[in-house]
Amino acid sequence: VNCAVALEQLSGYLEGSLPSDEAQAVRRHLDTCAACASAATNVDAVVNALRAVTAEPLPAGFERAVRARLGREAPSPLRRFLIPALAGAALVLVSFGILHVTRPTARGPAFRWQTRQTGEAPAHLPAAPSNPAAGPATSTPTPETLGRAAGEAPEGTKPAFTPASPGQPAAAKTYADKAEGRVAQVERALVGAPKAPPGRDVFAPLTEPAEQPQKTATTPTGQPLVLDRATHEVPRGPAGPVGPAAGYSPAISKPASQAPIPTGQAETSAPRTDEAAAATAPRAANKRVAIIPAPASLPPGGRLPFPRASTPGWLAAARIHLAPRPTRAGHQAALVIDVPSQAQQQVERNQLQSNLRQSIAVQVRLWVRSLTPPAVVTTSNASTLQRSANQATTAYIPINVPAPITTGIVVPGPPRGTTYELTLSTQEGNSLSLLLFTSSQFNAAQRVERLRARPLDALSHLTNIAGVWLLTPTDIGTNIVDIPAGRPDDALSALLAGLGMDVHRNGRFWTAMRH
C-alpha cells in the first residue's frame, strides 16, 4: 500500500468498513508514513467536528411561508373544479348549438362535409342546386370533392355554415373567457374579496394582480427597460446624471388632505392614473396613512425634510432581517440596508406601483441585516472610517470591533443604558448603510464630517422607490435613544420606537411603521 492507496481508503479505514486485510495494510502504511498518519488524524478531527454540528431549528413561520407559496402556486379548489365544469358546459352548449343549426330540416341545409365525407347526400336532403349561387351549402359530390378532408370547402364556394370555420373556435374561446370571468364572479361571491388579515405583515407577498396592465419600466430616454433576470442588469444606456432625478419619479402622490410637502416632482413624476388613485386613496384613508411623495431631485449632500410627528399619516415600513446574534460588550450591532442596483430599482418600483393598487402597504424595499462583528478584528479610529468612506472600491464601511471576538467575554447584549445612534451614509453603487453603533466610539465631529462627505443620492433613490420619506441626518442627530439591555433586535426596536415607529415582529422580520 502506498500513500495514494492509503489516502484513497482513508475514510473506509477510519470508519472500520474496510475488509480486515485491507485495513491492516493501511494501518501498516500509516505506521511508517508520518504524512499519511497526520492526514488520517486530521481527517478524523474534521469528521468529528462535522458530526458535532447540530441541526438548526426551523425559522419561525417557515411552514406558514411554504403554505402561502403553495397557495399562490396552486389554483384554488373552486377554480380547479369550476373551470373544467364551465368549460365542459360551454362545450356542450356549443355542440348543442352546432347540432341545432345543422339538424337537417326541410328549410335548412345540412353540413357540406357530411355529404363530402360520405360521398353521398342523405336521401332526405333536398337536391343540391346545380348553381352554387342559387342555393347555399349542399352540393352533389363529385370526384374532386370526394377526396377532400372534412371541413375543407371547395374552391369558389363558401359554406353557409361550417363547423371548422375560424369563427367557431373564436366563439368558443369567447365563451371560455366569459366562463372564466364567471368563475371569478362566483368565487368572489362565495369566498369574498381577499382581505388582509389583521396585523398582517405589510411585506407579506401580495397576490399578483390578475388584470393589472403590464407596466414597463423605461430608461430616462424612454427606451423600455429590460431586466435580465439572471444578472439583474439592464443594458447600459446613455450615461445619465447620478442622482435622484434620473428616470425616477415616485408613483404615489400625496392624498389631498395631507400637508403640502415641498417637492419639485410635479413636473417630473410619472402621471398616476385615476384608477390607481381610486384604488389606493380610499384604502389609505381607511388606514389613516398617507404616502408622501419623494422629491424629484436632491442636490448632492442635500437634506431631506423628515416627516415630523405633526405630519399626519406618515407611514414607513421596513422589512428588517435580523439574525439572532448576540452582541458583546463593546461590540457594535450593525445594520445594512441594501439598495438594489438601478435596474432593480426600476423593476421593483413597477412592482410597487402594481402592489399599491391592492394594498396600502408601502413596500420599502429595504433589507436590513444584522451583522456580527467581522472575524478579522480592526481597530477603529477616525482615519479608518474616513478612508473607507471615501474609497470608491469600499463597499462597506467597516465596523470597528474594539474587543477581539476570540478573547472577548460573551455578554448577552450591551450594558443597560448604552446609547446607540443611527447613522445613514451612502456608499459606492448607491448603497446605503444604516449603522448602529455605540456613541462612545464616534464623536460628534466625526459624525458630522462623515455625513457631509456622503451625498444623499442613494437615499433619495430609496425614497423615490418607496414613495416615503425616510430618516435624515438631522433627525438622526435628534433621535438618540437609550437602548435597553438586549440583543440587536431589542436595540433596533427601541431605536425605531424612539423615532416614533411602532415595531412589530413577524417571524424573522420586523415591521416598523408609523401611523
Binding site: L50, A230, P324
Partner: protein, 201 residues
C-alpha cells in the same frame, strides 16, 4: 439503488398514503409532508448555502417544486429520497444563481454566515462557548468553500448523517462513486482546514 428510509416501516405506509392523497390534489396532505420534512430540508439547504435566508428560500422552493411535480412521483423510491433530490437540485440552482448575480452589499464579508446560537441559549463558560462556536464556524465555512460536487456529499453524509446508500439514492449515483467522492471531499476539507486545525481539535 436503495431508497432513503423516510420513516419507520409502520409509518412508511402512512406516508405513501399521504403522497397518494397529495397526488389527488389534497393540500392538507402535502402540508403534513412539509411539517414532517421541513427541518431536514431546511438544514440541508442551510449547510449547502451557508445563509439562513437563502436556505429558507431554497427549502421553500424545494417544497413548491415537489408540490408541482408530485403527480409525477412514481413510488420507485421513497418520498424522502425524491424530496431530498429536489432539495439538492434546488440548492445547486441557488448557488448558480448567486454566482450569476452581481454582488450586493450584503454579499460582502460581514462575518460568518451562520451566526450561531442565540444569546439566550448560551450557557456555561464563555470561553468554552466561544471555542465551540469557532470550531463550528471554521468547519462550516470550510464546507462552504468546497466545490459543489464535494460539498453535497459532505453535507448529506457527514452533516446530515445519511448513509452511503442513502446518499447514493438521493444523488442517483453508484455506491462506489459516492464512497470515493466522500473520501476525496474529506481530504479536500482537511486541506482547507489544516492551517486552522488547532481550532477544531
Amino acid at each position: 439503488v436503495d431508497s432513503v428510509p423516510a420513516t419507520q416501516p409502520e409509518t412508511a405506509e402512512a406516508e405513501a398514503a399521504l403522497v397518494r392523497r397529495c397526488c389527488q390534489g389534497e393540500r392538507a396532505a402535502f402540508d403534513s409532508l412539509v411539517a414532517r420534512y421541513a427541518a431536514r430540508v431546511y438544514n440541508l439547504a442551510l449547510r449547502f448555502t451557508g445563509n439562513p435566508d437563502d436556505a429558507s428560500d431554497a427549502a421553500q422552493e424545494s417544497f413548491v417544486r415537489a408540490f408541482k411535480a408530485i403527480r409525477k412521483f412514481r413510488f420507485q423510491c421513497s418520498f424522502a429520497t425524491w424530496l431530498y433530490r429536489i432539495a439538492v437540485n434546488t440548492c445547486l440552482d441557488e448557488v448558480k444563481r448567486r454566482k450569476r448575480r452581481p454582488a450586493l452589499l450584503s454579499d460582502f464579508e460581514f462575518g460568518p454566515a451562520d451566526g450561531g446560537p442565540p444569546v439566550e441559549r448560551m450557557e456555561g463558560n464563555p470561553d468554552s462557548v466561544m471555542s465551540e462556536r469557532l470550531r463550528r464556524e471554521t468547519v462550516l465555512k470550510a464546507v462552504l468553500s468546497l466545490p459543489e460536487v464535494h460539498r453535497v456529499v459532505i453535507v448529506l453524509y457527514d452533516l446530515q448523517g445519511y448513509s452511503y446508500e442513502e446518499v447514493a439514492a438521493i444523488l442517483n449515483l453508484p455506491l462506489g462513486t459516492v464512497k470515493s467522492r466522500i473520501n476525496r471531499a474529506r481530504l479536500a476539507l482537511r486541506a482547507i482546514i489544516e492551517p486552522h486545525m488547532e481550532l477544531i481539535r
